[in-house]
């Protein structure tokens, strides 16, 4: 009996220690923490859910939308997230939240290759352990030999990580904005970065087999969202300058939205008319907006959402604790911008 008790105490202390270690030594890649913050949101406190590729988290700042229009939004997008992973992400997200509007970035529909397998694995790796993660890891994005690593991402504890290569001490010690316990904005941390871009249109034909697979996956996601009675907006964000000019993607969004009552699409011509990017100062790199561009686009986009979904967005009144959280994170974002030399 004494030994049994000792064993239980030993294992309990070990589990406690591992949990503590996971918080201390987690690499400081902010997108790794999206589910951590998501799970601490008050249940059913979201108006808008954003999902898709990095175009979402680089170009749309939920805190700016909160500050502008007073609705809550959260971004569960992942780097180059493909549609298979997105389906599992949506299912996981709807376990605790029932947002009225879901923004879906369909960029990867017109992808040309599946060279970003490691990135997909990283997206799945970040999910909380559960049936949705299991489902995602049993899919084609994860080879059998990698499944265990994806399901139990011990890499987070270790001196080397799968995607980013080597993690240095700065990844552990640099407790910047991203490493806080709650962080509604998890975009790029280098807020001051800017790259001058000359816009070109070199859209290319996509991989047909991949497209068919993604098309089926998107329809599965949309069927799921239909069952959840929420509005869906298919978007291409403005920094996606190669693709927003692409007839493939626009026609696709148009065709899909005609099949669902609850699905509409954001006609990218608007970018030419209403929201025009300054390619000299608002781009982070070839395909993402920087913080300045993201802030301006978030203001524009939040007003568009507010006007389009005023009924739905008005219904989800945020509780005081949620408001407090969003406001605190917005204030922190402003302070961080000042630290980075980007504040007013």
């Amino acid at each position: 009996m004494k030994r049994l008790l000792a064993s239980i105490v030993f294992v309990s202390l070990l589990v406690f220690g591992l949990i503590y270690a996971s918080a201390v030594v987690r690499p400081n890649e902010d997108r790794d923490g999206i589910w951590h913050t998501y799970k601490i949101l008050e249940p059913n406190s979201l108006d808008v859910l954003l999902t898709g590729s990095s175009k979402i988290h680089a170009n749309i700042n939920p805190l700016v939308m909160w500050e502008q229009c007073g609705f809550t939004s959260y971004d569960i997008s992942g780097s180059s997230m493909d549609l298979t992973t997105m389906y599992s992400y949506l299912r996981e997200a709807f376990r605790t939240q029932h947002p009225k509007v879901v923004i879906v970035d369909t960029l990867l529909m017109t992808g040309t290759s599946e060279q970003l397998d490691n990135v997909q694995m990283r997206n799945i790796m970040n999910m909380p352990l559960g049936s949705n993660k299991l489902y995602a890891s049993l899919g084609k994005n994860v080879p059998a030999t990698e499944r265990e690593k994806v399901l139990f991402p011990f890499e987070q504890y270790h001196s080397r990580v799968l995607i980013s290569g080597e993690v240095t001490s700065t990844n552990y010690l640099d407790k910047t904005f991203a490493q806080e316990s709650s962080n509604v904005f998890m975009g790029y941390r280098y807020l001051g970065a800017s790259q001058k871009i000359v816009p070109i249109n070199d859209a290319q034909a996509y991989d047909v087999a991949l497209f068919d697979r993604h098309y089926a996956e998107l329809k599965r996601s949309l069927d799921f969202l239909k069952r959840q009675h929420c509005q869906v907006l298919l978007v291409n964000t403005p920094s996606d300058r190669l693709n927003y000019l692409s007839k493939y993607e626009n026609e696709l969004n148009k065709r899909i939205s005609s099949q669902y009552e609850n699905v509409s699409f954001y006609w990218p011509r608007m970018y030419k008319q209403d929201f025009v990017i300054d390619y000299q100062s608002e781009m982070l790199d070839n395909t993402h907006l920087n913080a300045k561009g993201a802030e301006r686009f978030s203001i524009f986009f939040s007003q568009y959402l507010k006007s389009r979904y005023s009924v739905e967005l008005g219904k989800s009144a945020s509780t005081p604790s949620t408001s407090k959280m969003f406001q605190a994170d917005y204030d922190r974002y402003c302070r961080y911008k000042i630290e980075q030399g980007q504040g007013q």
Binding site: T145, H158, V167
Partner: protein
């Protein structure tokens, strides 16, 4: 079948999946009543374990098991028959159990040799390679079953009458993939006896596993990055990989191979101990050996025992004169090389080790004379260290052939590995082989710890693990926790990590 194929590769001895699998297996094992039910359970989970690795080849191990069992029984039945009859049954038994190994492992090697002969003969005929996949652990369970048949034939053991215990001994999941090559007659009695839960054995099993994880994840997997970089860029003419770097990589490979295989052995011996099964030792700190012959008595002991009992002794051992003895030694190491892999690098590696031993025997009188003239005290620490280092160097040179991608790569490395390019230690070359300075430091400290533990256990007969269990609970737990957290936090998992890649898996 499709479902099982999709799961192939999921189970790895160093993964969480294995720990979860083991926990469930142990929990249910102790809930079951009676030895037979438990043995059925072990056979079931072992079969499942095999299916996770080689779902398409389960029939092969099942067939080999049933055939070996039947041959053993037949040899028992025919024990009063003519020796010709028994020999025929023995030959048949060995042939049928070894067929799968020979076909899957050596067919392409043989075809490759034939194709070369055709080219040399000026023929344009080229036979296509079969590219057959080997069932997991085939080299190990084939040797185990051959040993069993031979032992029954030689009357060293009685044939196992119970197919359940026999099958569980062959397909026992801890040993099925990479050994140790345990004897059926040692395993079957342990599996047929009802094992009562023993806290001390459980604890020592878990500790042994923990130590295995330390060796594998702190040393072997980290060194694999460095070793892979150097061995994979042998002809890099930038000067970054050359000269002494080859020696460093070879020394690191020696450490990697030992920690990888002995780490695995610790994990499986620990796992088996939890089920009340004692598996034989496979390593007794081989790098402390003072001669190559001693090294081979301390390295992969179960394989060397097998080769001694079923190759060396049947060939005459040392009973038929010196020349025959030397030829027998060469034969043993030739078979050892061939067993490890169907390739010329393995054969050269094996023969080189055989040659070392021959040279040791032939030069012994000369060596004795030198020692006498120089008045060297054979028991002095300096002499012992010299012998140990010299043996290690000889073994390390042989490992280059074992690891190199080709014979030409190996020769290229050996030619250059003693060039005095000492600047590699100061010009940053060391940190350009995939490991940072911190990681090299971590690996060196870890090797140091392994060295100390091995030295205490096998040289001073003071087992640190046993000592640990006698300490006060607080100290004990602190050390356990420290070891676990060091492995979890500093173990090598990223980059090129693949827990399934134990070096000996491919053999």
């Amino acid at each position: 079948m499709e479902f099982l194929t999709s799961l192939t590769g999921m189970m790895s001895f160093t993964g969480i999946t294995y720990l979860v699998f083991l926990t469930c297996a142990v929990f249910i094992f102790f809930l079951l009543p009676g030895a037979k039910t438990r043995c059925v359970w072990l056979l079931g989970i072992s079969s499942f374990f095999f299916l996770l690795y080689s779902p398409k080849f389960f029939w092969v191990i099942a067939l080999v098991t049933v055939l070996a069992y039947s041959i053993g029984r037949a040899l028992d039945v025919f024990q009063n028959k003519s020796s010709g009859m028994r020999k025929a049954v023995l030959a048949l038994g060995i042939l049928v159990t070894a067929t799968a190994l020979i076909v899957t492992k050596y067919s392409d090697f043989s075809i490759g040799i034939l194709n070369r002969v055709f080219v040399l003969a000026g023929s344009s005929l080229q036979l296509p390679l079969l590219k057959l996949v080997m069932p997991i652990g085939i080299s190990f369970w084939t040797f185990q079953t051959i040993a069993y048949i031979a032992d029954v034939y030689l009357g060293k053991t009685k044939a196992e009458k119970n197919l359940l215990y026999f099958s569980a001994s062959v397909i026992f999941f801890p040993i099925m993939t990479m050994g140790p090559i345990a004897r059926v007659q040692d395993l079957a009695p342990q599996l047929s006896k009802k094992y009562t839960f023993d806290y001390e054995r459980m604890r020592s099993g878990l500790l042994l596993m923990l130590w295995g994880y330390f060796k594998k994840l702190m040393v072997a997997d980290r060194l694999a990055v460095f070793v892979g970089t150097v061995f994979g860029n042998v002809h890099n003419y930038s000067g970054k990989v050359n000269g002494l770097m080859f020696l460093v990589a070879a020394v690191f490979y020696a450490a990697q191979l030992y920690t990888d295989f002995s780490g695995y052995t610790d994990i499986v011996r620990g796992s088996a101990r939890i089920f009340g099964v004692d598996l034989p030792l496979n390593f007794t700190a081989p790098y402390f050996a003072r001669s190559v012959a001693e090294f081979w008595r301390r390295w992969h002991i179960t394989l060397m025992d097998w080769l001694k009992n079923y190759v060396y002794i049947p060939l005459g051992g040392n009973r038929k004169g010196k020349v025959r003895k030397y030829l027998n030694i060469l034969a043993v190491f030739f078979v050892s090389g061939l067993w490890h892999g169907a390739g010329f690098t393995y054969i050269i590696w094996g023969l080189l080790n055989g040659f070392y031993q021959l040279a040791g025997s032939v030069l012994k009188p000369f060596n004795d004379k030198v020692v006498k003239i120089l008045k060297i005290d054979r028991d002095s620490t300096g002499h012992k260290i010299f012998q140990t280092v010299f043996t290690f160097l000889l073994i390390t040179i042989a490992w280059v052939f074992f690891r190199a991608n080709s014979l030409s790569d190996a020769l290229y490395m050996v030619e250059r590995m003693f060039m005095p390019t000492i600047w590699i230690f100061t010009d940053g070359s060391m940190t350009q082989q995939g490991l940072t300075a911190t990681e090299i430091m971590i690996v060196l400290l870890s090797i140091g710890l392994v060295w100390v533990v091995d030295y205490c256990k096998f040289e001073k007969k003071a087992d640190i693990m046993t000592w640990l269990t006698t300490q006060h609970l607080i100290y004990r737990w602190l050390i356990y926790y420290a070891l676990i957290f060091i492995i979890v936090i500093f173990g090598h998992y990223g980059g090129t990590y693949n827990a399934a890649d134990f070096v000996y898996f491919k053999f």
